[in-house]
């Protein structure tokens, strides 16, 4: 018998965790001498009350959907992929190479090819840790951390020594050709009389991210491969007994995970900067951990959590602009969310389970 109904597990536990994180964040804001209610109002104003704010919020949301799904698919196979950051960096390299060196006739073709390149590069970067875990038993958490640093060094080398235009000081590639410009929300939805999303970076990759959520749901809950991934995640020995190859599932799950992380680079590199810069990932790979934990590794949850973090990111930028609260507040909130929804999960869960058991006993 389950200790708790499913809805409580899926909705109540994350909600209480977020509430705890929010209360602690409010205390932090109070401690540095600002008013938490005012700060929250400012964040809502800046992120949700104007279309430009939404444009930024959805831009960040797009990043976090991809990295959240990246961590989530690995969670389903009971692996912890901390390497989303590095995989996204290398994915960005794939996007840049495709955009710079292939003459595209139209942005839609460019988007398809760049998506494939991003996914392939990201997946390739995840392949080595996956293979080492499956074949040599080296722990994937450590290897993916190491691969983040190796990716940073690799990208630094490529940008400084190979792809930097002659005479440029900044370690970045040349601007991508104009034809690879992806339609932004402004291009799509704004008209003469109704200037929506002005200057904001949200672009067509947002719809790609939503499509990725749907594809993720279909893959995990409606296909044989998804079933195998979940079975492997629940019990490796049972999966092996059922004829599922642990090596195959480990490698495939990590390839999907790395591919999703790589696709995140489409949004920042092709959609926003239109060139590859050194810090194109902006830490989104790590936020994916918080998003996946909060979203309970379900695409709907990941989407909502990504939206929340998109709001926090844009709201945090507004706070830094108008108050003395630095952007790092968002890092603290992110840490608290990871702590409560991930590591201290049992602290929230145990009392709730007791509560439900007690009420059930009374009613029966």
């Amino acid at each position: 018998m389950d200790k708790m109904p499913a809805w409580a597990d899926a909705v109540l536990v994350p909600l209480i965790s977020i509430l705890l994180a929010a209360i602690l964040s409010a205390l932090v804001i109070l401690a540095i001498g600002e008013n938490p209610v005012e700060a929250f109002k400012l964040m809502v104003d800046g992120a949700l009350m104007r279309s430009t704010g939404w444009g930024y919020t959805l831009y960040y949301t797009t990043n976090f959907i991809f990295t959240g799904l990246c961590v989530a698919v690995a969670f389903h196979a009971k692996m912890f992929n901390i390497g989303g950051e590095g995989q996204a960096m290398v994915g960005g390299l794939g996007v840049a190479l495709a955009c710079l060196f292939i003459p595209f006739p139209h942005w839609s073709v460019a988007l398809i090819v760049a998506t494939l390149a991003a996914a392939a590069f990201g997946a390739a970067w995840a392949f080595i840790p996956a293979w080492l875990q499956a074949k040599r038993g080296s722990h994937i958490v450590i290897t993916t951390i190491m691969f983040n640093f190796i990716a940073a060094a690799l990208l630094n080398y490529v940008l400084v020594n190979l792809l930097r235009p002659v005479g440029a000081m900044e370690p970045a590639t040349a601007g991508f050709p104009a034809v690879t410009h992806l339609p932004t929300f402004q291009d799509m939805f704004a008209s003469e009389g109704n200037p929506l999303f002005r200057g904001s970076p949200a672009n067509v990759t947002f719809f790609l991210a939503v499509a990725a959520c749907i594809a993720f749901w279909f893959l995990i809950w409606r296909t044989k491969l998804g079933y195998e991934i979940r079975a492997f995640g629940h019990s490796e020995s049972a999966a092996r007994y059922a004829g599922i190859s642990p090596v195959r599932i480990t490698v495939i799950a990590m390839l999907i995970s790395g591919g999703l992380a790589g696709m995140m680079a489409l949004n920042t590199t092709m959609g926003e900067a239109e060139r590859l810069v050194l810090n194109a990932t902006e830490g989104a790979g790590f936020i994916g951990i918080a998003v996946a934990l909060m979203g309970r590794s379900h695409p709907v949850g990941v989407f909502l959590a990504a939206l929340l973090f998109g709001f926090l990111y844009q709201g945090g930028a507004e706070l830094a602009l108008w108050t003395s609260i630095p952007r790092e507040l968002i890092t603290v909130i992110q840490a608290l969310v990871i702590l409560f929804t991930g590591a201290l999960d049992n602290m929230v869960r145990m009392p709730l389970e007791k509560l439900f058991l007690a009420t059930r006993r009374r009613s029966s």
Binding site: I145, I150, P326, A343
Partner: protein, 321 residues
């Protein structure tokens, strides 16, 4: 390369290896007790900030050191609460601690000092001064050995000597005391320790307290010894390099010393020479940056001797009923 340059590189190797060594030994205690700790980076960062901040405010580096140790002990406490008391995922808890430290240090630094997330530069009593060992001046003129003693062995801050003395001390505690035996046992077979009537929870909390103490020293050395003040993200991945060194050393104290010296040397060389020219073949500086991580992956892959972690590492202990 002449003798004087060599000594300078080795001297900076010792300085750069010190925070790695302290953090690596911290991780050693924690992981030998079965608590995987990827939060070394965050604990060091918190200690670096609080040691620099309190040293700047009070003017006393010793008060700063205490504050730094206290800060990383608090972080250790959170890790213990999550991973021992509530049996949460130790890796996720470590990630959370890294983010918490990264955010909260800048937040408080901005609130206290309003200098863009840094502390004021430390001067005078706010820093650990270098210690000149006895006879260093007198022996300086002696060829070969004199400069070696003066440059390399003498002239470091007290925490450097503490770090190097911690290596034999760690070995002695872990392999020659009853506490050490139990601590290692709790990382391999906690159920056996429990059967013997020794508290698994107590031992593990003791281990992470030692871990907090050592990361506190590491962070304080960074901000008050190696550099004069705190800047944001000043640990710059050293916690992860220490983790890499720990695996490289296969969870043994003396090997930890060698691994940290090796990684310190790589950092020192990368700092001094940008690109190394080996007769027409140039090693770019990025290779030096990435080398500790690449070496660790190779070791982990088991191609050069297999690294086998403590058996119960990462697993919360649940008493059988």
């Amino acid at each position: 390369m002449d003798y004087a340059t060599l000594l300078q590189v080795l001297d900076s190797t010792v300085r750069l290896a010190t925070p790695l060594l302290l953090a690596c030994l911290a991780g050693l205690f924690s992981e030998r007790a079965g608590i995987v700790d990827i939060g070394l980076e965050g604990k060091m960062l918190a200690a670096a900030f609080f040691s620099a901040a309190i040293a700047a405010v009070s003017g006393s580096v010793w008060l700063g050191l205490l504050a730094g140790i206290a800060a990383s002990m608090v972080m250790s406490g959170i890790h213990g609460l999550a991973s021992i008391t509530f049996r949460g995922n130790q890796l996720i808890s470590g990630v959370a601690i890294n983010f918490l430290a990264s955010g909260i240090t800048v937040l408080i630094a901005q609130d206290w000092f309003s200098q863009g997330g840094r502390t004021p530069s430390l001067m005078g009593g706010g820093r650990f001064e270098s210690i000149t060992l006895p006879f260093a001046e007198a022996l300086r003129g002696v060829p070969v050995i004199g400069p070696l003693y003066y440059e390399l062995i003498s002239g470091h801050s007290i925490l450097v000597y503490v770090a190097f003395l911690m290596v034999p001390l760690t070995w002695w505690i872990l392999f020659r005391t009853r506490f050490g035996l139990r601590l290692r046992a709790v990382g391999e077979a906690p159920e056996a320790v429990d059967t013997a009537g020794v508290s698994v929870v107590g031992l593990r909390f003791a281990a992470i307290a030692i871990c907090g103490l050592l990361t506190g020293l590491a962070g304080a050395y960074l901000a008050t010894g190696l550099q004069a003040g705190f800047v944001r993200e000043m640990t710059a991945g050293r916690g992860y390099i220490a983790l890499a060194a720990l695996i490289f050393a296969k969870w043994r104290p003396w090997y930890a010393l060698y691994a940290c010296l090796l990684f310190g040397l790589l950092q020192a060389v990368a700092l001094r020479y940008q690109n190394i020219d080996l007769g027409g073949f140039i090693i770019p500086v990025q290779v030096m940056d990435a080398l500790p991580y690449i070496l660790t992956v190779v070791i982990l892959a088991g191609f050069v001797g297999k690294a086998i972690p403590p058996r119960a590492g990462g697993e919360p202990y649940v008493k059988e009923r």
